[in-house]
């Protein structure tokens, strides 16, 4: 039962060709039967990967907040630095699993776009804290 619950069926990209109207009805019917090949993903592994990606993002946003506070960045520069550091982290992860990212994630969107602003509040917390510690007091 547990293995069945962990199982999740998703359909791979269907290679259906666009049926043009000029074709005969029988041919278009043949083309409408899509060649769907189900791909089974282990949901536990997908969740584990998302979790470790989230851990990476959180720790790096805290660290980049420290760096921004030490460097004394203010206003928009700090947010630009946040965007830069998260992109840098995504790029590092991509470099790390470059050849086998299909093995770990369903799409590259998970690495680069999803959860981009999740670490922003952590970043602002550490940024203001370190800025206050270093530059104000």
């Amino acid at each position: 039962m547990s293995t069945n619950n962990e199982m999740q069926i998703r359909h791979s990209a269907t290679n259906s060709r666009s049926t043009t109207s000029s074709k005969s009805p029988s041919l278009s019917k043949v083309n409408n039967v899509r060649n769907v090949e189900p791909v089974l993903y282990s949901e536990a592994a997908v969740r584990f990967n998302e979790n470790s990606l989230e851990q990476c993002r959180t720790s790096v946003s805290a660290l980049s907040g420290c760096v921004a506070g030490i460097l004394g960045l203010t206003s928009y520069k700090g947010f630009i630095f946040y965007a830069f550091s998260i992109f840098f982290l995504s790029f590092l992860i991509y470099l790390y699993i470059r050849n086998e990212h299909r093995k770990f994630f369903t799409s590259l969107k998970h690495i680069f776009i999803n959860g981009f602003f999740n670490g922003l509040l952590t970043y602002v917390l550490f940024w203001t804290f370190l800025y206050g510690m270093v530059h104000v007091y």
Partner: protein
């Protein structure tokens, strides 16, 4: 262990850079100069420490599992995968026969 070492070194370097920046700030205030910008070596040390921390944390947390279920099932026997607890029967004739 190697990646943890990198992360620890990065954190220590970051702490040291922060302490140096605070010291520089205090020095500037005591000598009554105008604060313009941090010394270059502190900035460089901070950035290098950040780079080391990034690489260390990616190596530490970036251990992903293969998501295809065939990879997960490769080391399991059919008895484990095909286990259907819902279909188990406990009320059968064995209780009448063997008790």
């Amino acid at each position: 262990m190697g990646q943890k070492l990198l992360l620890i070194i990065g954190l220590l370097a970051l702490a040291h850079a922060g302490y140096s920046a605070a010291q520089h700030r205090v020095f500037v205030r005591l000598t009554e100069q105008q604060f313009e910008r941090l010394p270059t070596d502190i900035i460089v040390q901070t950035l290098i420490a950040f780079l080391a921390c990034c690489i260390g944390s990616v190596q530490l947390f970036g251990k992903f599992k293969p998501i295809l279920i065939t990879a997960e099932w490769q080391n399991k026997t059919w008895d484990t995968i095909g286990n259907r607890p819902s279909f188990m029967t406990f009320n059968h004739r064995g209780r009448k026969l063997f008790h």
